[in-house]
Amino acid sequence: MWKEKLERVGDVKWRFAKENREGMKIDAYLYGTKPIVDGVEENAVQQLTNLAMLPGAVGALAMPDIHTGYGVPIGGVGAYDYEEGIISVGAVGFDINCLHPNTKVYLANGAWKRIKDLANTWDEDEIRTLDKEKKKETKSELLYFFSKNDYRQIVRIVLESGDELLVTDDHPILTTDGFIDAGKLGLDKRILVNKIEGVEYEKPEKFLIVDEQRIIEKIREFGLTGGNAERQILEHLRKRNLLNIESTNKQVPILARIIGFITGDGNITITQKTREVSFYGKREDLEELKKDLEALRFRPVLYSRDRHHKIETVYGDVEFNAIENSLHVQSSSLAILLAAFGTPVGNKTKTEFHVPNWIMEMPNWIKAQYLAGLFGAEMSSPRTVNKFNFSEPTLNMSKSVELEENLIQYLEEVRSLLADLGITASKPRKVEGYRYAGKSGETIGYRIEVHGNPENLIKLWSQVGFAYNKKKKELASLAIAYLKIKERIKARRAKARETAREMYQNGVSPRQIVKELSGEHLTESFIKHSIWSDRGDPRIDPEFMSFQDFIEERNLGDGYLWEKIERIEIQEYSGEVYDLTTMEDTHNFLANGVVVSNCGIYALATNLKEEDVRPRLKELINTLYEKVPAGVGSHSKLKLTNDELDLVLENGVDWLVEKGWLTKGDKEHMEEDGKIDGADPSKVSAKAKKRGRPELGTLGAGNHFLEIQVVDEVYDEGIAKAYGLFKDQVVIMIHSGSRGLGHQVASDYLQTMNKAMKRYGLSTPDPQLVYAPAQSEEAQDYLAAMKAAANFGFANRALMASWARNAFEKVFGQDWESLGIRTVYQLCHNILKLEEYEIDGEKRKLWIHRKGATRSLGPGNKLIPKAYRRVGQPVLIAGSMGTSSYILSGTEKSEEETFGSSCHGAGRQMSRKKAIKEFWGDKIQKELTSKGIVARATHSKVLAEEAPEAYKNVDLVIDSVVKAGINKKVVRLKPLGVVKG
């Protein structure tokens, strides 16, 4: 029912018109000769049309090796527009659009600026904004900013806390009923606010905080002088622009908060064995911290473990489970950098430390960031002692007895930072009853308390607040609003009391006074007491809601809460108004289901001829089988450390070149030079890494193989010569992927993307085909992880290639250079890339998804290695086991018609189970032997499921792409020997 709708539109081109299936945005095309199309499965065609259904679809194609995959067909290519499909979601928060010049704009770095002061800096500033769906605060860059001279009505909205907003009447305000224009706002609406302001921005005076010299001193102080340590640390920091840091550097506020937090709940270890920075806390908070560390371009790893605890108490043994979370950065350079910034290293109870000097010289808003980090970790949470009154926030710290002086001094320093911000606190005092003699000596505790008067508390919580502590931050914002509302009511009561007394003295009757003055929070009895008693300042109305009830009624989450409007005034205004818009979620799409495990092919050429290899073929295959681990659970001879794995994920083949296992010449003959930029190891889960660590340089199982082949036909002498290929030449071909690491990445993100789809309200024609808006966090994370997995795949094949060279060296007793073993090309055929193509005469950036399809670029394309540029990119096509493989070249037509894509192999036509049923492994072995092919596999069934008969005839597939003009045939390769997992 799907296939019958295919219409032939060319010799080898078939169209499935979009009218035939609802939801298709464009026509889909299939390339193949008649026999190929006759053999295609119904499901595969349906899956091809799925590709045309996704938002922003520009191209949906299938190559002749098409067969059913998951959601999309193997051999499928989908192209999606980079721009199209952008849906603008109204930005949330009332601090955007047309605003009064004095409006405060809260910045992501923790400071605030008046909107008029943003004029010169808006393109650098990031502002705080709310992601309403996630109920989470995020940061956003500004898309544009302008001011204009205008005369218009301005709305002054006075909230119950006394805070005011000045906005133009057409400015949308987020209320409990959605966005409403300010001019149409009624008093019955509640509006969304966040009370944590930060401190007004002030440009720091420029001075050098840390420089190379200081870093070197620290490296030497901790004795990290072995090997290349010093050079490496300096190089790492230089790469991250963290070697010479001036006070004006944008990373300084981030560093200030992190250092504050470490002083509370973190730890830096610098020993010969371990260099690590660790943090402890709740998962959600550590995730915030992770983002900051990533902004500094380090790679933190978050661990959670369920721990069983058993505690002996006077009531007996208590057992419970608790999840312990910790965040770790294993990086000498970060540890040294933080140490150079004056962060305490090692056991803090036993180390003397101070507030770093440079913090003292910074403007208040950066001092506040340091304190926010420290308080997020160590200061008590906002809480009430009774219904209404807050207890004094305390900062407790302990140290070993010998360091009592230092402890007092440090708390004094904190107190002086607070004083700079206009916040008062008590002098440090000893915590009575706290003296603890533990295993590591005796410790004592000291505390300071922030004075509990409302203005002081409001300053503390709104200017400093708490970093990396969602719960405390949320409570702080609520507490500020609560305190402000409460203080206003108290002030109103005081005023009413005074008025009542005056009226009474002027002879107004109590009944009249009560009648005139009573109202909410001003009861009859309160007014009467005011007249007849001489009580002083009134307390809060006992009926006033408790803080607990306030939280329940008003809290939205992450510091946002609903506030009532007290009054609205319309004013005439003439002058500048300001407008700014945040970068919103752009909605173009990355499909995850399309791209999975980053398989690919590596081809090596030799100077050997078939006659040289034939006599030693068995020995060669056995040696290869020994050198290159194959099969399920096969482990590499190379054990990677965590750091090394991260380097592989980030740098692909570059890492192997650095190690000297491959040459620069090898690397230059690969797609993307064997390294895809933008890979982010921190987006790869710990599980995926655990799978990947022992697997670099292993073939794996399934359809992956290593073959010794011979060029048995040359179709285009010129191009063959450019690729360095000639008749009877022996070639090595490796087909493998990114192994368990790639599979785990795919499984992890399948779930992430699934959840993202729900959140963005997206639908899919197939549950395996999940996708998310390209600029969404989920999609970007996936992209960074997929690139890392692709780099692993590149490095995996390359490492096997280098071992294959060693096998040849061993068997032939010559070095690989004299055997002429060099890289022809390496490519991957499961990948998502941002590429540029001309569509209707216009250059457009597209997200190209190739699932079981190969990139194929025509002559002249700059992405092709120099030596091949004149003739087009080599396209390596692996046949099925025991059948021919091909090397083709890309043409201009492939760039015009198929988004620079071609087929990748033969394509299955029989399921694996069926193949096992029909072909016996032994029989296959005999058949291969009769063709003169030496095969070596872990198990005979493995041979059966990959029996050549289970695949389409590769020659037919090649015919199709050549007829379509997508490729030129260059050489055909015949297998001599096979290694399989």
Partner: protein, 138 residues
């Protein structure tokens, strides 16, 4: 109880039916590993803890099977049988189970499951208990 289907080229697909969610997990685990090796030939001299979570039974089954593949890969463990208890706690399903089997042995491998997919995947409650359909990438 499970049965293998043979509809997709290149893939393993199976349907599992069970009275309880516990049984659904242990049977789907057996179906999964049965694609890779003959569990009859395995001995039962080792055991390993398996834990999985999910907000829905579907997510739970997916995570459970992915965890089995993860453990097989990283612990070099081949599974013969499973024993599992599912709890609903804190808004999510939590499976705590034990796998019984032996050390991995490549010579026993018939084919290799790369990953669990969501293609044609469902988990549903039926009159008789639970049913799941799973496609894996071979």
């Amino acid at each position: 109880m499970f049965e293998y289907l043979d509809e997709i080229t290149g893939d393993g697909e199976f349907i599992v039916r069970a009275k309880t969610l516990d049984e659904l997990l242990s049977e789907s685990g057996k179906a999964l590993v049965g694609l890779m090796y003959d569990t009859e030939k395995l001995s039962k001299n080792k055991r390993i803890e398996i834990e999985a979570r999910g907000e829905t039974p579907k997510e739970l089954v997916y995570n459970w099977l992915t965890e089995i593949l993860f453990l097989q890969d990283t612990e070099n463990f081949f599974f013969k049988e499973f024993n599992v208890k599912v709890k609903f706690e804190g808004g999510e399903y939590r499976a705590e189970g034990m796998g019984y089997g032996q050390d991995g042995d490549p010579s026993l491998v018939e084919s290799y499951v790369k990953a669990v997919t969501m293609h044609n995947f469902y988990v549903k409650e039926t009159k008789h208990g639970w049913e799941a359909r799973i496609v894996v990438d071979l």
